[in-house]
């Protein structure tokens, strides 16, 4: 399987871009970085809209940077831009047909994604006959997403697609994207600022800052790394844990996850039995103790080993990385970031390689961040 290999070099506006990465050809890859770091520029370059940069784009053995051979209208990508645009002189359905009419050759062997499927999934039925100029932000976004997908792209590029949506619909669309990605094996490159979105749908993540790649890897790895924390700021620092659903309690509306032999209770009923579910826990929501607290104060008690301690200068806080104990004897390691006051750290005499008990309330486990695999 070939990858999407991208190299960009040069100055655009005030930004010095020096970016190189091989994007995986499956799953969902997140492109994450502060505003103005070059994420959207990478999309523009992939779309063929930038000609004053040194560009090398290889995809399925094709040299896409050859703009004469691959002008913007002949590239195999489906791009949803940051401010999605519908053609307002057309109805919603005509907008969808616009792309079907122009991509008939592509659709021959991949007729799996039907217009009807998208209309159903994205609940567009009641919108079809409406004029594109009178849609709400959320409606517009769904139509644009459907139109982009109907191109049957070999790679789907989405630039902050959810920024305009209310929370309820966002959760639905994220589930749709994840399912779509798995079902049709169309890889997605996804720009977002939302850690919730990253933890819910991201498989891979590429961190970018000032036009350069800072780090890349799987989401569960990167989110615990300092490179990511540096970008988000310490306050948002969090960890992703993966657990297997071992019990649903439908009366109390909670789910018990098995984390390599340790139990974690989360609110709600995500996934099915034996599904893998991801949860995000904010570092500041974690309590630590060097000994077991007999009258347990939270639903969850986990055990781990302190693998690093960082005492922040000119700040009240310290950040610890804890490796969770694995009682299942497989080699899978899960890491947790904890943020406590340095006062607390000194008081409890916590040191590197110490065993610790971790207490975290189920209330603070992010309900939006579930995702079953």
């Amino acid at each position: 399987m070939s990858n999407l290999s991208v190299l960009l070099n040069g100055k655009i506006g005030n930004l010095f871009l020096n970016f190189e990465h091989n994007f995986k050809n499956d799953g969902i890859t997140i492109l994450y970085g502060p505003n103005g770091s070059g994420k959207t520029t990478i999309f523009s370059a992939l779309g063929g809209f930038i000609n004053n940069l040194e560009t090398r784009i290889l995809f399925n053995g094709n040299e896409l940077h050859d703009i004469d051979k691959y002008p913007p209208n002949k590239r195999p990508f489906g791009i949803m831009f940051q401010n999605p645009i519908l053609f307002e002189h057309l109805s919603v359905e005509e907008n969808l047909d616009f792309v079907l009419k122009r991509n008939q050759l592509n659709t021959q062997n991949k007729s799996l994604i039907s217009k009807e499927y998208l209309i159903n999934q994205l609940e567009l039925n009641s919108l079809l006959k409406r004029s594109a100029e009178n849609l709400s932000g959320g409606e517009k976004l769904r139509v644009v997403l459907a139109r982009t997908i109907l191109k049957h792209p070999n790679y789907l590029l989405l630039d902050e697609p959810m920024s305009d949506l209310d929370i309820k619909y966002k959760a639905k669309l994220l589930v749709f994207l994840k399912d779509f990605n798995k079902k049709f094996k169309i890889p997605i490159l996804y720009i977002t600022h939302s850690i919730e979105e990253i933890s819910q749908i991201g498989d891979q993540i590429v961190l970018i800052k000032d036009g350069k790649k800072i780090d890349s890897g799987s989401v569960s790895n990167i989110l615990n790394r300092s490179s990511f924390v540096d970008l988000t700021g310490k306050f948002e620092s969090s960890s992703i844990l993966e657990g297997i659903v071992s019990r649903h309690d439908k009366n109390l509306h909670i789910t018990t996850l098995d984390l390599n032999g340790q139990k974690l209770i989360v609110p709600g009923l995500p996934g099915k039995l034996n599904d893998i579910v991801r949860v995000r826990i904010r570092s500041r929501d974690i309590l630590l103790s060097s000994s077991r607290i007999k009258t347990q104060i939270t639903e969850n008690e986990l055990q781990g080993l302190i693998s690093s301690i960082e005492i922040e200068k000119n700040s009240a806080f310290s950040e610890l990385v804890i490796v969770l104990k694995n009682f299942n004897n497989n080699r899978k390691k899960q890491k947790l970031r904890a943020r406590i006051t340095t006062y607390n750290l000194k008081n409890k005499k916590l040191l590197i390689h110490d065993n610790v008990f971790i207490y975290v309330s189920s209330v603070s486990i992010d309900r939006q961040a579930y995702q079953s695999k």
Partner: protein, 230 residues
């Protein structure tokens, strides 16, 4: 008999004026549209320079443009010579000389509304269309033109009305030759000079009403579009 003669002469002037406005708008569509597109999307460094040139006819006295055009159109000048070789006729004092002068004079009236309209739909619309698989021409005819209907309409109406009302340049370049280059504006001038106020009234009043109706149509439709957008 005399009145009849004048009526037909005025009628011919009206026909010439309308023909001039229609032919001018046709060529403006061919020349001004790509120019507006270029100014809206393509030009960067050259933009102020080209914009200044295109806008010149708005600020220059018509006599200045007329003066230079007479020089360029004269049989001794390159342009005038080429025209004679191609058609066997002089460019100056001819109908096509008038057309050429009108194109130059009305160019800003075609380019500016259309350019604003193109800029309003923006680069992102074009990029979206390209990325959906539509090529540049496909995009222009099936996305940009329908989306900029209002801009085209405004350009057409204003350029048409403006060409109808030309006087200075038309007089200098065309010479006001009856049946050839004499347009309504010149007829009115002649009538007033001869103190035939009655005939001047008919033509002037006609122009006033026609121009008003044209502008009213423009603002009526544009207002409605604005309301619909909101």
């Amino acid at each position: 008999m005399d009145i009849y003669h004048h009526l037909t002469s005025d009628f011919i002037a009206i026909l010439i004026t309308l023909k001039l406005a229609i032919v001018t708008c046709f060529f403006l569509a061919l020349i001004g549209t790509p120019l507006a597109y270029f100014l809206a999307f393509k030009s960067k460094k050259t933009k102020p320079f080209i914009e200044a040139i295109v806008t010149l006819p708005l600020v220059l006295p018509p006599t200045v443009i007329g003066f230079y055009l007479i020089i360029f159109f004269s049989p001794e000048a390159v342009l005038g010579k080429i025209f004679i070789i191609l058609t066997g006729e002089q460019l100056i004092f001819s109908f096509y000389g008038l057309v050429l002068a009108s194109i130059i004079y009305s160019l800003p009236f075609w380019v500016q509304p259309l350019q604003a309209s193109f800029e309003k739909i923006g680069r992102d619309t074009i990029r979206t269309s390209y990325s959906l698989g539509a090529g540049p021409l496909d995009t222009f005819f099936n996305v940009i033109i329908p989306l900029c209907k209002r801009g085209f309409f405004t350009s057409l109406i204003i350029s048409f009305a403006h060409t109808l009302g030309e006087f200075g340049i038309v007089l200098m370049v065309g010479g006001g030759i009856h049946g050839k280059t004499k347009v309504i504006a010149i007829s009115i001038y002649d009538h007033v000079e001869q103190l035939s106020f009655g005939k001047a009234h008919i033509l002037a009043g006609g122009m006033l009403i026609l121009s008003f109706i044209i502008l009213l149509t423009l603002f009526y439709f544009n207002k409605r579009t604005v309301v619909r957008v909101k």
